[in-house]
Amino acid sequence: MVRLIIILTPLVLLSIGGVAMWQHYVVDKIVTLRAAAGTSITLGKPFGPGNNAGVLGDTILQTNSQAKIRLSPGSYILVFSGADYAAQTQKITVSSNNLTLSTPSLNYSAQKLDSLLADEKPAIQTVVSGINSLSGYTTSYESLYGAGDWYAAKLAPPDPTTQDVLRVVLHKENGVWQVAATPTLILYSGDYKSIPVAVVRDIDNS
């Protein structure tokens, strides 16, 4: 009996070790994270039951440069963030292949956009005031969006009893602000497919 135990024990330990090695080197996949300058990537498990919430739960790894980690198959959450950027969440699924994930193009944070707007205002004002139909209109709401390359404003008329409140959208292309949606009462995202829906939604509902 003792001899049997002596023979079986290493076999069992070898089997356990083999399974662990197989899990680590065959089943687990390498995930490489590459954070762009000024941003960080946080990797973690999804929060909540069902793993469909798209919300970060327990953090596994955080990097502001490059990092590699072996992960077992399943769903994970990545959060891309940075001081000047609005955090962006991405759900990933680790299955049969190694993955390399880099910081996508992030939108600026509201604070950063506000500070950018102050700088961009003179150039934007030149374009808006050049629109003939806007004589006497004043800006009642305005904002920059995305990477500071979209601008939308709600414009109040000089005589509200005879003139409508209008909305205008500008886009900065090659460093030059251009009218993306001429002044109109309301914008329909289906008519302006080149304008991000978030911009149309914000200016329509402001």
Binding site: P157, P160, D164, L185, I186, R201, N205
Partner: protein, 208 residues
Amino acid sequence: MQQSQTRKKLYIAGGVGIVGILILVSVFHKQPAKPTITIAATPLSATVSINGKRGVVGTNIVQSGSIEIVVSHKGFATQTRIATVQRNATNYAGFILASNSQATANWYSEHSADQQASSSIASKQSDISATESIQNVPIIQILPYLGPGLEYRVDYGVNPSPTAVQTPAIYINALTPKARADALHWIKSRGYDLATMKIVFTSDPTTL
């Protein structure tokens, strides 16, 4: 010895039982239903092809996703439609071919079965269109709406956007800027997203 034989029999019986259970599970395991699309077409003798392969007027087993349906009949204009087929959903496409020759000009009045089938298809298509309209623009369920003091009227109708003709547009009939602003405010106040609906403004005092 006898005990050993009994144990052997038990092992064999257990093995046979497990194999039996596995066979039963594999036989009765429910295979996921393949997606189907029901195609209705008139004339009833029309020829149907799905993704270039022969189909039938009736139920067709297809792959889920986009499929191209072509319905043709001699003497009628061929119709081609891209349909989206979803698994575990009722997929339907109705076709009423229009005559394009003198020989078939009075086809429907001369073929009562085709005429009845055409009415049925038209009715079903109308129901589907109504359901899709509500899904796309849910506000239409509470329209028309007349603003306080008949200041404005919010209704729905044909979408003038060439890319969204199947989605109804919201028509705001209001005579003043304030009335238009109030109508927009009313839509927002009901929780609807203005960016997702085509809004057409009119100024017709007779329909307020």
